[in-house]
C-alpha cells in the first residue's frame, strides 16, 4: 500500500466523495440542509461556512456541470469526509436496509427504485450528462453496481471509525 501523504485528493477521489454526498441527498430529502447542520455540529463552520461554500467545494468534482479548477485543500477534504461519515452514521439504518439480503425482495426493490429515482433526478440536475461517467451512473442496468458500491462505501464508512478508512480509499491511485 502507498504511504499516506498530505497530497490533495485525486480527481477520482473528489468525484466519489461528491457522488456519496449526492447519494446522501437522494436518501434524505433534507440531505443538503443536514450536511450544513452537521458541519456546524462538527465545528467545521470555518471550512464549510454556508451553502455557497459547500457548493463551490463540491464543484471540484469533474463530473459537475460547472467544474471548478484546482483542488480541495487538505482541511476542506477532511471537513467534507467528516461530514459524509456523520451523514452515513445518521442514514445508516437506510443504508443497511438497502444492502441487506435478509429483507423481502419486493420491499428491497422498492427501496432501491425510490433511491435510484431520486439519485437520477439529482444527477440530471447537477452533473454533466455528456460525461461518460454520468451516463454510466444513469444507466439503469450498467450503473447498478456503481450505485451499490457507493451505498456500501457509505455503510462501511459510517461514524467516526470510518473516517480514516474512507480517506485512505479516496486517496487511492487512479486506475
Amino acid at each position: 500500500m502507498a504511504s499516506p501523504t498530505a497530497a490533495p485528493l485525486p480527481r477520482r477521489g473528489i468525484e466519489r466523495l461528491d457522488l456519496m454526498l449526492l447519494c446522501a441527498e437522494a436518501l434524505d430529502l433534507n440531505g443538503a440542509e443536514a450536511t450544513l447542520w452537521l458541519s456546524e455540529e462538527l465545528g467545521l463552520t470555518e471550512v464549510v461556512s454556508d451553502r455557497v461554500e459547500l457548493w463551490k467545494q463540491r464543484c471540484h468534482n469533474p463530473l459537475r456541470r460547472h467544474v471548478r479548477r484546482g483542488s480541495l485543500t487538505p482541511s476542506e477534504t477532511d471537513a467534507l469526509i467528516q461530514v459524509l461519515c456523520s451523514q452515513s452514521e445518521r442514514l445508516y439504518p437506510l443504508l443497511r436496509a438497502l444492502l441487506s439480503a435478509q429483507e423481502p425482495l419486493d420491499i428491497s426493490q422498492q427501496r432501491w427504485a425510490l433511491f435510484e429515482e431520486r439519485l437520477r433526478e439529482l444527477i440530471r440536475e447537477r452533473l454533466n450528462p455528456r460525461r461518460s461517467g454520468v451516463q454510466t451512473l444513469l444507466d439503469p442496468v450498467g450503473g447498478a453496481p456503481q450505485r451499490r458500491q457507493l451505498i456500501r462505501t457509505m455503510a462501511l464508512a459510517a461514524g467516526q471509525g470510518g473516517f480514516e478508512r474512507l480517506k485512505a480509499s479516496l486517496m487511492d491511485a487512479s486506475s
Partner: protein
C-alpha cells in the same frame, strides 16, 4: 471490579469483559485486561474467546472493510492466520475462524454486506471506546496503489487493449510482407547523358 462494554447493532452484539490495569494507573471504569468477550449473531453460533482472538478478528475484518471501500476486496487474514475473510460472491463475504483448540473444525460464517457493516461498526466502536485502554496491533488504513486496484477490472477488460495492439501489429506486419518488393533498376543503364546547353 469487573467491567463490561457492550456494543449493539441490528444483527450482532459484541460484549467485552475485563478489569482495569491498576498497576498502569487506570481508572476503576477502564478495561486494561480483557478477561473475555463474546459476539452474538442473530441465527448464528455465538463466538467467544480471549483478547488475542478479538484482536485477530479485528486484524482480518477491518483491513478487509478498507479494501471493500476501494471495491478491491481480497482475502485478508489475521497475523496468526486464525481468522480470515474473503469475498464469496456479489455482496457475500466468508468469515473463517479457526479454533485454537485441537480437533475443532474451523467455523465458516457467510455475511451479506449489511451484516459485515454491522460487524465493522461494533469493532470500530470497540476500537474507539475510551474506556478500553489496550494497545491493539491493527494496521493503519492506507491508500492503494494502481497495481492493487487492477483486480477490480475484469481480466478480459484489462487484457483487451494489449491484445488488440498485438493483433494490429501482427496484421500490419503481415500486410507489409505481402507487398511486392521494388524491382532493382540498373542506375548506369538508365541514366541519360546530360544534354549540352546552347
Amino acid at each position: 471490579m469487573k467491567q463490561t462494554l457492550r456494543f449493539d447493532q441490528i444483527s450482532c452484539r459484541l460484549q467485552v469483559e475485563g478489569l482495569p490495569d491498576v498497576s498502569a494507573g487506570q481508572g476503576s471504569d477502564a478495561i486494561g485486561i480483557v478477561t473475555g468477550w463474546n459476539l452474538q449473531w442473530a441465527g448464528r453460533p455465538e463466538l467467544e474467546g480471549k483478547k488475542e482472538h478479538l484482536q485477530a478478528l479485528m486484524q482480518a475484518v477491518l483491513p478487509y472493510a478498507r479494501l471493500l471501500l476501494s471495491d478491491a476486496p481480497r482475502l485478508q487474514h489475521s497475523l496468526d492466520q486464525s481468522v480470515q475473510v474473503t469475498p464469496a460472491g456479489p455482496g457475500v463475504h466468508r468469515l473463517t475462524l479457526r479454533s485454537s483448540q485441537p480437533d475443532t473444525p474451523a467455523l465458516e460464517v457467510s455475511l451479506d454486506d449489511a451484516e459485515l457493516a454491522d460487524l465493522v461498526r461494533v469493532l470500530d466502536q470497540l476500537r474507539l471506546e475510551p474506556r478500553l485502554q489496550l494497545q491493539l496491533e491493527l494496521p493503519a488504513a492506507q491508500p492503494l496503489r494502481g497495481r492493487q486496484l487492477q483486480a477490480r477490472i475484469p481480466k478480459r477488460q484489462r487484457l483487451a487493449a494489449p491484445v488488440a495492439a498485438l493483433l494490429v501489429l501482427g496484421v500490419s506486419t503481415a500486410a507489409s510482407l505481402l507487398l511486392p518488393a521494388p524491382k532493382l533498376v540498373n542506375v548506369e543503364a538508365t541514366t541519360s547523358k546530360p544534354t549540352p546547353r546552347r
